[in-house]
Amino acid sequence: MIKHLFKIIWKRRKSNSLMMTEIFFSFLILFAVCSLGVYNFQNYLTPAGLETNNVWVAFINFNTSSDTAKMEYKELVSQQLKRYREVESFSYTSANAPFTFSTMSNSFAYNKKKASSDVITVEPDFPKAMSMNITQGRWFTKADIAGNFVPVVITKHLAKELFETEDAVGKVFGGGEESAGSKKMKVVGMVDYYKHKSDFQELDNTLFRPSEKWDDTMVLKVRAGSGAEEEAKIVRELARLGKDWTIEIQQMDEMKSNRNNLVLVPVLILLIICGFLVFNVALGMFGVLFQTINRRKQEIGVRRAMGATKGAILWHFIGETAVIATFGLILGLFFAVQFPLLNVFDVEASVYLFGMLLAVIGIYILVGICAFYPSRQASVLQPAVVLHEE
């Protein structure tokens, strides 16, 4: 039966070629959209590893170039913040605090294995402010900083890349060539997740190291319910400490949703456009199928007269369309398979495979729907009437 269908379509491949190209292009578009969707959804499902509720980010600019003055000012701010009941914990960080638009990265090496990683410098209170869960080891303390090694905490992703299956905690490693002279780093703890760019971020390499003297961004965990009133009070009182300072506070929740929107909005626009495109194609296919089946009335009449049941006719035409789709899909899959094979965009192969699977299913469903109505029309034809027309 299936062989028979393939034979029919292959014989008329020329007249079906337009349909096949259409399926081919639709598949490619669906494949792209599905892969993108799968990729983002997969990332969305992994835990964030940090809590943004009731977290503020303060951007402080002391407007001074002297590092000693800066350190004094920072100490002043810390002392002042400890007085507020609203502020539960806080930590200075480098400019690339979670959900800001800054990035900072560096490369690291262990036993000739190299890895590039985001680097953020933080204070010991950082995990408390961000409600992070340390899965192995512990966070660095003030006492660690004085030691021979720079104490660092890394994400599981980075641990896997540098140390593979070995236990990460306790390992000593260095930077890439760039920092040959500086102190070596020692892993004191590991966190499983740290999604600091958006909810749709892939798990990535991050290394936390002790804060530097020029860090002037700050994350603050505040008591639930603290709003603009408390914020205004704190900013006013802090700014009073130094007249040249500029202080801005942002809610991390808002920052996160901004970053999420940057990912979501383009995907949504793409989805809408592709949805319309596919709908357009579906309508076209429906019309063309309707017309082709109409033209084959006599053939249907003969088939019916020779004993084909209604169901057989219905399935025959749906099958034929499915076979046309299969030809288009084979061509499309040939191109789609190149993505995981050539590792384009550096995304896991499973994402592409899943995308392909979804796109194939989508195309068959689409074709099935488009073919169903015309095929049913064909199946209810009375052989006597049709053959009489002839």
């Binding site: 603009a228 500029t246 033209r295």
Partner: protein
């Protein structure tokens, strides 16, 4: 005769409602998306309020220093002193304005906060741009010389801070513990005018940052408007000569000691393509344009194939009609003519629907507050090109099969 064709066409279109709907939907929907997308693109790159002189202006925005030995590079906006030393001294007559990158800050007012963007500018900024002042005026070189703490705000801030429609000039605005006197209120502009949009504009001398620093990199953008629009190329050449003599910063750092420096006076569009895809002296615009064209072509291919497909089956379906008409003596020419007119009419109807649809979408986007102050406009150029392209496809796909069929023997055509 033409009227006859028209009547036939409408009758045919009405008879096969479903096919008509498919064709119309395909044409109008594709055109709509194309027009809306290009309206966005146009909005991003072409001149618009308040940068009406954008096409004549040059932008010095980014300076890039490269260490060719260690393959490191670092880049960012230029400093205020860079603009004074290297750009204001250019010989070609032009107005040079300095404007800082935007920053945001919160204004606290009776227990709620207004998040605002602010920039520092010089007095020339108000001459290079064409802001519409709803009230008051801009600050001048005199204000800056007097070290006046004044500010120009936009209508959005006025509505929130002072009250809707109330006079704001003369009132004080407190930002970061410093009081500024409101000197003017401008009509706001969308954030997509990346170098000019802001909520507050301060004179550069009120900035807390030290402007005397002579570093090359800083926080400013230079907008250059030649007095004579034809001087643009001359200015670019002159600046290139000046830039080639600037020495890279001596960092003293072993790992990053730049030995090459890139800074250009670019047109608006090129200043972005250079940032995205430029390398060395190349500006990357060719690459970006070909990518954009590629995306549009890919997007258009599907509706085009669909149109061809639907048209083919429409004609095939009418084989017997062609046969009958031929049998009654119609010439190939008359038959083809009819299909040409049919296709033109179909495309035009689709075009009209697209026109209405895209105007509605653009109107909606402009009205809704998705992006404040956005002012998309209908792009007639793209619309007419798109109509021409769909006509071409319509004719190719509808008329060619019809012509072939009209060449058929009557007996064969009738047999279809």
């Amino acid at each position: 005769m033409l009227f006859n064709y028209l009547k036939i066409t409408l009758a045919v279109l009405k008879r096969r409602k479903f096919f008509t709907f498919i064709s119309l939907f395909g044409i109008s929907f594709t055109l709509t998306i194309l027009v809306v997308v290009t309206a966005f693109f146009d909005h991003l790159v072409s001149a618009g309020y308040p940068e009406v002189n954008r096409d004549n202006s040059l932008y010095v925005w980014n300076i890039k220093e490269k260490d060719t030995k260690n393959e490191g590079s670092s880049s960012g906006p230029v400093s205020f002193s860079f603009i004074n030393t290297y750009i204001r001294t250019l010989k070609t007559p032009a107005k040079v304005a300095a404007v800082s990158m935007f920053n945001s800050i919160n204004i606290y007012l009776n227990n709620h906060k207004i998040k605002v963007m602010y920039r520092y500018t010089d007095a020339n900024f108000w001459e290079v741009t064409s802001f519409e002042f709803l009230e008051g005026k801009s600050y001048t070189a005199q204000n800056i010389a007097n070290n006046d703490y004044v500010v120009v705000i936009n209508d959005n801030v006025r509505d929130q801070y002072v009250g809707k429609g109330q006079p704001a000039v003369g009132k004080m605005l407190e930002v970061d513990n410093v009081k500024y006197r409101i000197i003017g209120v401008v009509k706001g502009c969308p954030v997509t005018r990346l170098h000019t949009s802001s909520d507050l504009y301060f004179p550069y001398n009120t900035s807390k940052a030290d402007l005397k620093k002579t570093a090359l990199r800083g926080d400013y953008i230079a907008l250059i408007l030649p007095n004579n629009p034809n001087d643009k190329l001359k200015l670019q050449e002159e600046f290139k000569a000046v830039a080639s003599k600037i020495k890279p910063t001596k960092t003293g750092d072993k790992w990053f000691n730049p030995d090459k420096l890139y800074v250009f006076a670019d047109t608006y569009f090129v200043s972005f393509t250079r940032e995205l895809k430029g390398s060395g002296d190349g500006d990357g615009s060719a690459f970006i344009i070909s990518i954009l064209l590629g995306v549009v072509l890919l997007f258009m291919s599907l509706p085009a194939i669909n149109l061809v497909n639907v048209n083919m089956s429409r004609i095939m379906e009418r084989a017997s009609e062609i046969g009958v008409r031929k049998a009654f003596g119609a010439s190939s020419k008359t038959l083809v003519m009819q299909f040409v007119i049919e296709n033109i009419i179909l495309t035009l109807i689709g075009g009209v629907i697209a026109l209405i649809l895209s105007s509605l979408v653009i109107f909606y986007i402009n009205q809704s507050n998705l992006i404040a102050y956005i002012d998309l406009s209908f792009n007639w150029k793209v619309f007419s090109v798109a109509i021409l392209v769909s006509l071409l496809f319509g004719l190719l796909s509808g008329v060619y099969p019809a012509w072939r069929m009209s060449k058929l023997q009557v007996v064969d055509a009738l047999k279809y």
